[in-house]
């Protein structure tokens, strides 16, 4: 049985910046062969030098990624994708601008085709509060926010600082999930995907990401206590955006497990063969006290 394919569902209202974000992801997938399913095929703009082949509903890139048009049936698009000779390493589905991403994400919560890694909702900082109060689309927008494991507050460059603060406080009040503030949908791909291929621990520990995000490493070959680890991961709230690691649990010391965390959602699964229990890479807002996060996590070691 092939391994379940990690799934990211990207939600957000019209114009929030989903397509821009997807274009960035296709251009730099951190080496992963991802499949991206999109609604607005016509707006996918990848460097033509990257295009290996293209037809009416599929673009294949030379970096191994593919982009498929959803057309009128996500069901058929997914079935066709799974029937391809080489399945993708990861799947990203763009929910339509009015869809509830949770409804699509459920394909990664049961069965064995996909494993939901995260629902990420992109928010337009300029318009979200107005839309959330709109009698026609307010419920739609609020559903999209409620479904998210991680919110990307986009277009921060288009609003005044005090407005951005106000939107941010409002979002924190309606959804208790981490928020990544950005402009032009410039979310580091590592935050969204790259999961199985995050930079190596050595590289991660030394990388300088300026003010965009902070990255910290807990190198540890000792096992964690399951309950303590769960408690620690649940405690981070908005301090942590993403974590990935290869680790062991005291309860099953012989198995190396892959830890994945995006926003409020995390999971432990069997690690690929040959993976060594090296520790955890953590990514969060630049203002997070990384040392405190690491200490919390360290306290969960056996």
């Amino acid at each position: 049985m092939p391994q379940a394919i990690p799934l990211l569902v990207l939600g957000g209202f019209l114009g929030a910046g989903k397509t821009t974000l997807l274009n960035r992801l296709l251009a730099d997938s951190e080496g992963a062969r991802i499949a991206v399913l999109v609604n607005d095929f016509g707006s996918i703009a990848v460097d033509s030098r990257l295009v290996a082949s293209a037809d009416a509903d599929t673009i294949e890139l030379s970096n191994g990624c593919i982009c498929c048009s959803i057309g009128s049936s996500l069901m058929e698009t997914l079935l066709r994708l799974l029937a391809r000779p080489v399945p993708p390493e990861r799947l990203v589905i763009e929910a339509s601008g009015v869809a509830d991403p949770a409804r699509i994400a459920a394909i990664g919560l049961a069965g064995d085709a996909f494993r939901l890694e995260s629902i990420v909702t992109v928010i337009d900082a300029e318009t979200v509060r107005c839309r959330a109060a709109d009698p026609l689309v307010g419920d739609t927008v609020r559903r999209q926010i409620a479904a998210a494991d991680l919110l990307v507050l986009n277009k921060s460059d288009l609003v005044e600082a005090h407005e951005l603060d106000a939107v941010r406080s409002w979002l924190e009040a309606v959804a208790a999930v981490p928020i990544v503030v950005t402009a032009q949908a410039a979310v580091p791909p590592a935050l969204l995907i790259g999961a199985d291929r995050l930079p190596s621990l050595a590289h991660a520990a030394t990388a300088d990401h300026g003010e965009q995000f902070g990255q910290w490493v807990l190198a540890a070959d000792r096992p964690f206590r399951r309950a303590a680890l769960a408690e620690a991961l649940d405690s981070f709230g908005s301090r942590l955006w993403r974590a990935k690691g290869f680790l062991r649990l005291a309860e099953q010391p012989d198995a190396v497990l892959l830890l994945q965390l995006v926003g409020r959602r995390w999971s432990l699964a069997a690690a690929p063969a040959g993976a060594a229990p090296e520790g955890v890479v953590l990514i969060g807002p630049p203002q997070t006290d990384g040392q405190a996060v690491i200490e919390t996590l360290r306290s969960a070691l056996a």
Binding site: S73, R80, I104, G111, A113
Partner: protein, 549 residues
Amino acid sequence: MPPAAPISVFVARKIVTMNPSHPEATHVAVRHGRILGVGSLDELARWGEYRLDDSLADKVLLPGLVEGHSHAVEGGMWRYCHVGFHDRRGPDGKLWPGLQSIEEVVGRLREAEAGLGVPDQPLFAWGLDPIFFGGRRMSRADLDQVSTTRPVIVVHASGHLMNVNSVILERARIDRSSNIHGVLKDDAGDPTGELLEFAAMFMAYRVVGDEYLMTRTSAEGYRAFGRLANLAGVTTATDLFNDLKPESVEHLRQVTAAADFPLRLLPAFNASSAKPEDGIAKMAGLVPTSTDKLRFGLVKLMTDGSIQGFTARLRWPGYFNGRPNGIWNMAPEEIRRYVDAYHRAGYQLHIHTNGDEASEVTLDAIEAAMVAQPRPDHRHTLQHCQMADAAQFRRMASLGVCVNLFANHLFYWGDAHYSQTMGPDRAERMDACATALREGVTLAMHSDAPVTPIGPLFTAWCAVNRLTSSGRLLGAHERIAVADALQAITLGAARTLKLDHEIGSIEVGKRADFCVLEDDPTAVDPAGLKDVRVWGTVLGGRPFPASGG
């Protein structure tokens, strides 16, 4: 000048023309597939030499019926076993009697299973409607009686639910631990085999593949849809939601080009599958390739969901049972953008609006587009539009908007609308055909096949009698006269397709498309309108008996 083609004169017991200046006749002359004259034999003989065709001498002719909202996918579905509660006829004319209990459904599935070859070939069935089974739901145990080795999928009439057997559950790894909303479980915590919504149904399709979904745009499916239309007396029908991908367009061309294909088919482009500018470019390429039996040009928009699925967008006071408001298929601002773009480009829009909030947003969008770009006689048409009130019909009239109401809903879901979705008051004025006519809106009505069977005479019966499947009279004041109903399924529907200069009535210059009946619908008891027997059709002067002979 080439020599004039020969003239055929059809004689009938009665010809109901739908042309008010000449409402009835006994003979119709045809040349070049078009109507040369309507009248008595004496009158028509003045055109010169003719051949008298008396094969329909004891029949009643109506203009060929026009189904303004159907989906050709129904044709493809008849490859699979039908298990509906109501009687239904397949494209081969075979009557599939309605199944009144789960036991009867299982019985039919076992018969179908016995007819399958390869041991692992999945058994598909469709049309299940458990609301009629007194609260009992189908379970995996029922379907395990059909097969414990072969995947079995039974899709419900709504299309939004399915039942599967244990083989599928096991292969899809759906079990006690599957904690998603769409996997229904019994009291012991095990999946019942009933799957609803996208994710759960995806897991089942993943086991059996996409064959069932793909047949919808196959050439065979389109051919079968032509036969279904012929059985119902329909000579023009829409396929009102089609991505018009190259492969599907090729199938449409191939099938409709055949001389023995008995239908004029109008696929409507699913506009939301492309940006407006790309869709408009695509349409501009397709429209000039239209033929007399394949017409491109219609554009479809989907704005909300369905009322019985609680996904339609309603205005205050919302759903009768307190469910939250439904969901948009397109955001209101997208509706405005698409309406504006296609309106400017000169196309005619057919817009799905089930709930009255969706209708309101759509009317606003059309009004704004018309202010920005005045355009006479656009005939944008609201499809379903089941909850519109008198004020909305007045807006349609003043904006030049047509309506195609879903009269079949009165029978199939009228009881549910009365008790759950809309409550008595709004249910009694749903699909308000009388209000539409009173306010001067061009009216068509439809089946939405395969949601309900294609059959305009049944649809007319629904609008005339407004009886639900339990026998309740739902909105006595919205009943319309038989003559008005017949108009709606012929000339009215033709007007909503901008084809009323070509079809919809039997008069000089129009295409010789007739619905051929054994009984006279204008003379039968209105309660018996649905039982009027269809002999077949004439398309472009060529008879197509439903018997195939």
